[in-house]
């Protein structure tokens, strides 16, 4: 019963409210470069619309004294097949400073799309972006060392895309299981 009333009243849980407060600070500074806040009860997030500003937003999130998102917990690549885009979803938290957490989405085109790299802001992003490139094929501009990490260096194709066709042979070994 309580759950129905909560959804009807559109209340946000304390965790989501904290994320909204952090989002408001970012929105105040960057305006239309970020999308509206999505009060997803399990993972509140916003999307960066102007991807050229992604590094600036990242630096602001890490260094601003009211945000202090000093830890990137995870960066996952995602394939949005219906929209024809690839994207990344990053989860942030603030260790030792605040208890707010937030997620950020950045999207790009499937063919030849690129997203600015934030490996200069959080070192976690270095290997995570390499893995996203390896699995999805989106290029990260400004990444110091963008090459395949889990697949062999001479593998063709990007395995985690929804329309991936596995190659027939690799150095003479038959690949399809």
């Amino acid at each position: 019963m309580d759950k129905v009333m909560e959804e009807a009243g559109n209340l946000m849980s304390p965790m989501v409210q904290e994320s909204k407060a952090a989002y408001d600070i970012i929105r105040e500074r960057f305006g239309e470069a970020v999308s509206e806040f999505d009060a997803n009860p399990t993972m509140p997030f916003f999307e960066v619309i102007d991807t050229a500003k992604w590094v600036d937003i990242a630096l602001f999130m890490r260094d601003n004294s009211r945000l202090k998102f000093n830890c990137m917990a995870c960066l996952s690549g995602v394939d949005y097949l219906e929209e024809g885009k690839l994207g990344i979803v990053c989860n942030f938290e603030s260790i030792g400073n605040f208890t707010h957490r937030i997620a950020v989405k950045v999207k790009c085109q499937r063919e030849g799309g690129s997203i600015p790299s934030v490996s200069c802001v959080w070192h976690t992003a270095n290997w995570h972006e390499r893995e996203a490139y390896d699995m999805y094929g989106m290029v990260f501009d400004g990444h110091p060392d963008l090459r395949r990490i889990l697949c062999p260096e001479d593998w063709t194709g990007f395995p985690l895309r929804k329309d991936y066709q596995v190659q027939e042979t690799y150095h003479g070994i038959k690949v399809p299981y």
């Binding site: 399990t42 830890c71 917990a73 995870c74 996952s76 260790i95 030792g96 889990l150």
Partner: protein, 400 residues
Amino acid sequence: MQELGKAELNTTRIIRQDDNRVVIEKDLDTEYMVLSMGPQHPSTHGVLRLECITDGEVVVEAEPYLGYLHRCFEKYCEKIDYPAIVPYTDRMDYLAGINTELAYCITVEKLLDIEIPRRVEFIRVITAELNRIASHLVAIGTYGIDLGAFTPFLFCFRDREIILSLLEWVSGARMLYHYVWIGGLSYDVPADFKKRVSEFVNYFKPKVVELQKLLTENEIFVKRTKGIGIMPAEVAINYGWSGPMLRGSGVKWDLRRNDPYSIYPELEFDIPVPDGKFSDVGDSLSRHLVRALEMDESLKIIEQCLDKMPEVSGFDPRAVIPKRIRPKAGEVYGRAENPRGEVGFYIVSDGKSTKPLRCKARSSCFVNLSAMKDLSKGQLIPDLVAIIGSIDIVLGEVDR
């Protein structure tokens, strides 16, 4: 008599000539050598390839090459149902199977509308903490044997055998359990389980003290690990380190306290963070110390759970599991504190299908290992072994 510094070691040559004169030649030209601490190596804890560029004995750069154990976990997740993914999560970090299963199950349960029975929560925590002790025993034992201490290795494995036989009694398997299911467990614990576990706890408490005296306070061990691979706290956070690695650098961050799940809020335990008296904060000895002290805390947690666990007659741990697991549409990033750090799962569900759209496993060892290149600059090759051992990697989790 002057001592040679690390930098001069490789560019100086000392010869005693025929007329007994000693000639010291300085600033000789040297060449870098590329040495592959290859995928097959007893001290790299799995199939990890470290391409070291060395100047004599000093490592200029050690770059890890991964992917030798890549099994396409994330691609499989898009083809099989949610419950069928649980055995795959076991095999990621095979030394801490229950903790990884727990991380996955609590993530999916966030998208479902079920309430887990209390007895299930207690059993989950007891088995998870037993698995944490077993995993730390392997970490400590193999770290000792990497540095040449053969006895603690067998002591650790003798005690680990008892835990493995307890877990085999409960779930049927010694290592890859498939015990924690989404919404419950696969079997209830046997009738004598509480008695046997408390016997183990009483047996193991003095063994931890013995292990500390044997290994941690050993002068050779301290000399080989103190001051090696120091990572300052802010850099560790920036690299995304978590678990014993982060606590070894002095940051008091534990997901069981800072982002609690299951019944951990009701339990009392400390979070050991070294203060620099015995070891330098952030070095390999601190990380080892955190793991050794954490075993004591896990024993405390198990004791409290055994006291508080409710007895329910005719209990069915599968009672609340839905017939078909179809989470509502949405996405969630859920995580748990594994023995090696933060293991998280990012799951996207479209609400209609029984298979996830995207299931990304954020692995603790992958993130911890990414700092290897910077940690190894300027170290000697034996120190490289000491650093890898202190990072405590399991390649199954690094490569997934």
